[in-house]
Symmetry: C3
Subunit: 227 residues, 3 copies
Amino acid sequence: MKNQIPKSSSIGKNVIIEEGVRIGENVKIGDNTVVLKHTHVGDHVTIGCNCVLGIKPGGNKRMRNIQEKNESLIIQDYATIGNLVTIYSSTEIGKHVFIADHASIRENVQIEEGTVVGRGSIIELNTKIGKRCTIQTLAYITGDTVIEDDVFIGPCVSMSNDKYMGAKEYELKGPIIKEGAKIGNNATLLPGVMIGEKGIVGAGSVVTKDVRNNEVVVGVSAKKLQK
Amino acid sequence: MKNQIPKSSSIGKNVIIEEGVRIGENVKIGDNTVVLKHTHVGDHVTIGCNCVLGIKPGGNKRMRNIQEKNESLIIQDYATIGNLVTIYSSTEIGKHVFIADHASIRENVQIEEGTVVGRGSIIELNTKIGKRCTIQTLAYITGDTVIEDDVFIGPCVSMSNDKYMGAKEYELKGPIIKEGAKIGNNATLLPGVMIGEKGIVGAGSVVTKDVRNNEVVVGVSAKKLQK
Amino acid sequence: MKNQIPKSSSIGKNVIIEEGVRIGENVKIGDNTVVLKHTHVGDHVTIGCNCVLGIKPGGNKRMRNIQEKNESLIIQDYATIGNLVTIYSSTEIGKHVFIADHASIRENVQIEEGTVVGRGSIIELNTKIGKRCTIQTLAYITGDTVIEDDVFIGPCVSMSNDKYMGAKEYELKGPIIKEGAKIGNNATLLPGVMIGEKGIVGAGSVVTKDVRNNEVVVGVSAKKLQK
C-alpha cells in the first residue's frame, strides 16, 4: 500500500493501512496504528501510536442497528489525533481539531474546526459538535447530542439519552447545548435537557430541566443561583 | 502457532498468539492484538484490534494478592470484543456478550449471556454480572460486586467497596444489585449497599443505604421519591 | 537497538525502542509497546503490552504551550506499568510505583515511591503526587495539582483547575491535598481547594471551599459532618 502515500508523509513501524485509504501530504502516523478501509486523511494531519481508525459499527442482538450515512471516516487538514484513540467510520473530524489520547469517537459524528476533545473522552454516535469547543478529560457525550460553537464541557461531565433506561420504547434524545454554554466538572445532564446560550452549570450539579440563556444553575437538582 | 487456528478463522496482522491458546471456528481477530497463554476463544467470536487478552494479575507490595481460581480466560461462542480492550485470566465472558472498545475486565469475573459492557467501562475483580444486563459507557463496577439479571447501569456510574478507604482492615464489599434494577447516570453507590429488585436510582444520586424492591430513590443522599 | 538491552531483560514481539532509550537489568516489556526517544527505564521494571511511553506534548493553537523542564521520561527501579498505558516525557515515575492498565500520565508529573495509580486514571501536567498514595480507578487528577504522602483518592473522583472555564485569563490552580487525606468515590473538587491533613471528603460530595485538618465533609456543596 506504500504507493498511496506521498513522499512528504511519514508512516511509523508496524502501521497497517487497508485498501481504499487516502493519505494526504505531510502526514505523520505513529507506530502500530491501524487505518481501516476507506479512511481519508487530509494534509498536515498528525496521528499517534496504537490507534484504530475507521472502525465499522458492530453490536449484539440487544443493541440498536445504525444505518451508516457514509462509509468513510474523514479527517480534515491539520487535525491532530493522539495515541490509543479509536474513531469509527461515517464520522468527520474538522480542520485543526485535536483529539487527545485514549479518546473514542463513534459513527455519524461531526466535529467542527478547532475543537479540542480531551484525554479519555467518549463521544457517542449521531452527535454534532460545533467550532472551537473544549470537551475536557473523561467527559462523556452521549448519543444524539447537539453541541453548538464555543461550548466548554468540563472534565468528567456525564450525559444520558434514555429517559426510561431501556425499559420502554423511546426516541433517544441527548442534551442540546447552545452557543457559549459552560458545564462544570462532573455535572450530570439528563436526557433531552437544553442548556441555553451562555448558560452555566456548576460543578457537580444534576440538571433535570432546561437552563435559560445566560442563566447560572447549581445543585442537585440544579436551580438558578441566587446572587 | 498458526497450526492451532482453524481455516474458518481469520487472524489480523502482527497478532501475537501465545502457547496453550485455543481458537474456535469462524473467529476473527483484529490487527496488533495480543492473546496471552491459555486463553480459550469459542466459535464465532469477533475480537478487535490492539487488545490484550488473558493478562495475569500483577501489583506492588501495597496491593492485595489474589489467588486465582483458574488460569484461563474463557470467551464463549458468539461473544464480541471491541478494540483496545484488556481482559484478565480466570475470567469468563458468556455467549453473545458484547464488550465495547477501551473496556477493561479484571480476573475472577463472570459475565453471563447477552450482557453489554460499554465503552471505557471497567469491571474489577471477583465480580459476577448476570444475563442481559446493560453496563453503559465509562461505568465503574468495583471489586466484589454482584449484579443480577436484566440490570441497567447508566453511564459514568461509580461504585466503591472499601468503607474505610484503606484506613482499616475491612472485608471489601461491593454493591449487590438485584434483578431488573436501574441505576441512573453518574450515580454514586457506597460499599455494600443493596439495590432491591426493580429498584431505581435517579441520575446523579448518592446511595448510602439499601434501596427496597421497586423503590425509586433520588438525591444526595438518596431518599425515596415522593410522588 | 538490541545492543542497548542487557541480557537479563526480555523484550516482547513488535516492540519499538527508539534512539537514546536506556533499559536497565531484569526489565520486561510486553508485546507491541512503543518506547520513544530518551526514555530511561530502571532495573526490575515491568511494562505491559501496547503502551506508548515518552510521548512529547502536542496541541492545537487553542491549547497552552508547555515548556518542558527535561526531555526524558524516567521510570525508576521496580516500577510496574500495565497495558495500554500512555506516559509523557519530562515525567518521573518513582520506585515501586504501580500504574494500572489504560492509565495516562502527562508531562512534568512526579509520582513518588510506592504510589498506585488505578486503571483508566488520568493525571494531567505539572502535578506532584507523594509517596504511598492510592489513586483509584478512573480518578481524574487535573493539572497543577499537589497531592502529599499517604493520600487516598477514591474511584471516579473529579477535579478541575480553571475557575472561569476558559472564559478569562486565570492562573490555573488544581487542588492541594495534604498528607493522609481521603477523598470518597465520585467526589468533585473545585479549582484550588485545599483538603487539610487527614481531612475526609464523603463519596459524591462537591467541595467548593477548603477543608480543615481532620475535618469530615459531605454533601453538595460539602459541609462539616454533624455527629
